[in-house]
Amino acid sequence: MDVSYPELVREAVMAVFNETGLTPNDIDGVVSGTMPSMMEGIALTHFYFADAMQAAGKPIMKTETCGSTGVSIAHTAYYWVASGMADLVLAVGHEKMNEGNSQATMTTVAEPFYQRYFISGAPGVFSMQSQMWMDRYNIPEEKIRDAAAFISVTHHDSAFDNPYAHIKMRVTMDEVKNARIITYPVRLLDVCPNSDGACAVIFASRDMVKKLGRKPAWVKGVGYRGEEYFFGDSDKVVWESAIQAAKQAYDQAGIKNPRKELDVAEVYNPFTFQEMLFYECFGFCEPGESPDLVLKGTFSRKGELPCDPSGGTLCTNPIGATGLIRVAEAALQVTGKAGDHQIPKAKLALSHAMGGVDQFNGIMILGSKL
């Protein structure tokens, strides 16, 4: 909050140059993206941030896919390099949410004639989805509530180990379960904050990696799927966009049993309930099984497949950057640079973002080995 929007972008971009020892002159192209202009108060932000991104004189791409923008930026940078058209691409995601109105903006994503009145902001959609999921598998409400509270408590704890996390507060199970209702069954501590943030990641070709002599995180799999605009048109429990996006990435990475083979996952989790649904769609467990496993600690920091050791989206959500932050966190994990929230010996990591009217899912899998 202490810096202007261009300064926020510049901080992240300069940090990635300092970290890598590269300079803007080395960069062959820049990919930028945010949420829609209503959120930003400014349209087509690649113009405004041309200087902050050190992008003047560079080829540019502007990728936007709503909430999944961050991961879509990473995908664009990946395809750019993988096409052979560039050796070094700078990916930049950014959002300064305390200056805008995120819920008002997200209300304008919904269809204006029939749905906008019912689906105000983000929680409406995600709450309906949670209810649908609970109902489909006859999961006792108390169990789901406990599991969601457990996720909130553990992620808020993890945020203390992440220097870039926004919300740092200790919460108890009781506090989560008794927090103010946002949209039933979602309560305040089940929901992400409005954050300011920017994230910059440099993608390099194999030849360039050799030249740089740095230990990289290799892109192993890239998946993305989108589904219908009208909320009622698709099943959000057996959620095809999430299932198929993960499958595409797993197939590329040669992953058959994700829970066993992945070492860590950065799942886009603006809502605790939804995080559990993602576990199921991504094949981390069977449908309806996730609350039990959450409560057993399967997805905790010391569990079989630690999810969101950074504290995740639940603790930090500058939306246009958030998906790219998931990718960056996965990269830090597989290169052993995640500091206090490092998962020991992490070699294969999944990153994910979701967007639209519960509509888009994007996955990028990173590994320590090519």
Binding site: M39, I60, T65, M85
Partner: protein
């Protein structure tokens, strides 16, 4: 760039206000381009669209809205914002990685449902210093035009000739929105918008859904028709503040040089057979001639005087009427590509240029005084 990615089918709709809604318009061009390629939606590998929230009639996250009507349901698809040529580049890149052998690329803009162009371009201005004074694309263009006239002695008449040519060419383009037989005096005598720009030198606000199918070399052989190859592409972004830039020495040269290099073109003046360029303000066509290397610095005025860029000239520029005749803001770059493809195939109807077209150039620009440029080179 050797023959790696081909454009195998194109479709566009007309620029005038239409009673058809966004969905129907987007669906119509998507279906048309699939039919032309003899393909079904299921056979398409990936979809890349281009649109812009600020030009999207009050709905945010434009791609959420039109996802399934553009054939992207349960596909790996993505979206570019602001400039539809980016979507062409991205679609081509996706094919070049080997992950996909076909891509549907679509630009979407329903101008009749949007606020005036400059209400939208005002939103590019930083909110603290520039928006308050009303900086828009038209105002930035007026600054640029005045500078161009003063530095190089470009005359108002030379600028007006661009509008005479393009609005005249538009008469032969059934998709063109604004067209007519005008004289230089008509152009200069039209309403003065922001000095020195007059109304007929400024592009309209149009509808424009534009769709293309790209295919890998192998796939292109299987699809009937005349493939047009993407030979090269490039883009470049300039600094943000107008005062930090030389408005007559912008990034178009960079973008064009990148595209020429990829296409192996060292002498564009000789190698380019026809060009479709984005000239939302008449004088910009002259300035862009220079950036594209069709003439030297300050020579854009003389080039149009010589007839070099007329319908019968050596490089006809904007035989479709260009953006002065049809301006679906985000889609306009991709629309230039469609026109270039039609010229190469010899399928441009009454606006077909009277010469053999082997290599064509398509150009897009958006932002104040051309802050961003993108160029594609297409060929047989």
């Amino acid at each position: 760039m050797a023959k790696q990615v081909a454009i195998v089918a194109v479709a566009q709709n007309a620029g005038a206000e239409s009673k058809d809604n966004f969905y129907d318009q987007a669906y119509a061009v998507t279906k048309e381009v699939l039919d032309k390629a003899g393909m079904t939606r299921d056979e398409i590998g990936t979809v890349v669209s281009a649109s812009s929230d600020v030009f999207h009639g009050g709905i945010s996250c434009a791609n959420s809205y039109y996802w399934e009507t553009t054939g992207a349901f349960l596909k790996n698809a993505s979206r570019q914002d602001g400039e539809s040529l980016f979507a062409l580049f991205y679609g081509a890149m996706r094919i070049m990685t080997g992950h996909y052998d076909t891509a549907l690329v679509i630009g979407l803009c329903k101008g009749s449902e949007n606020p005036p162009n400059d209400t939208c371009t005002l939103m590019y201005a930083d909110p603290f210093y520039q928006r308050g004074v009303g900086l828009t694309e038209t105002m930035a263009a007026a600054f640029q035009m005045r500078l161009y006239m003063e530095r190089y002695g470009i005359t108002a008449e030379q600028c007006a000739k661009v509008a005479v040519k393009n609005l005249g060419n538009g008469l032969r383009n059934p998709y063109a929105h604004k067209k007519g037989r005008y004289t230089v005096d008509d152009i200069l005598g039209s309403e003065r918008l922001i000095d020195p720009l007059t109304a007929l030198q400024v592009a309209p606000k149009s509808e424009g859904m534009v769709a293309l199918i790209l295919a890998s070399a192998k796939k292109a052989k299987e699809i009937a028709g005349k493939p047009v190859w993407i030979k090269g592409f490039g883009s470049s972004l300039d600094n943000y503040y107008l005062g930090d830039r030389d408005l007559l020495n912008g990034q178009l040269k960079n973008a064009a040089d990148r595209a020429y290099k990829m296409a192996g073109i060292t002498d564009p003046q000789k190698k380019i057979d026809v060009a479709e360029i984005t000239e939302p303000y008449a004088f910009q066509e002259l300035l862009w001639y220079e950036g594209l290397g069709f003439c030297g610095k300050g020579e854009g005025g003389r080039l149009i005087d010589s007839g070099f860029t007329g319908m019968n000239g050596q490089i006809p520029v904007n035989p479709s009427g260009g953006v002065l005749a049809n301006n679906p803001y985000v889609s306009r770059g991709l629309q230039r590509v469609v026109e270039a493809v039609l010229q190469i195939r010899g399928e441009a109807g009454e606006r077909q240029v009277p010469k053999t077209v082997k290599t064509a150039l398509a150009h897009g620009t958006h932002g104040y005084a051309g802050q961003c440029h993108a160029v594609a080179i297409l060929g047989r």
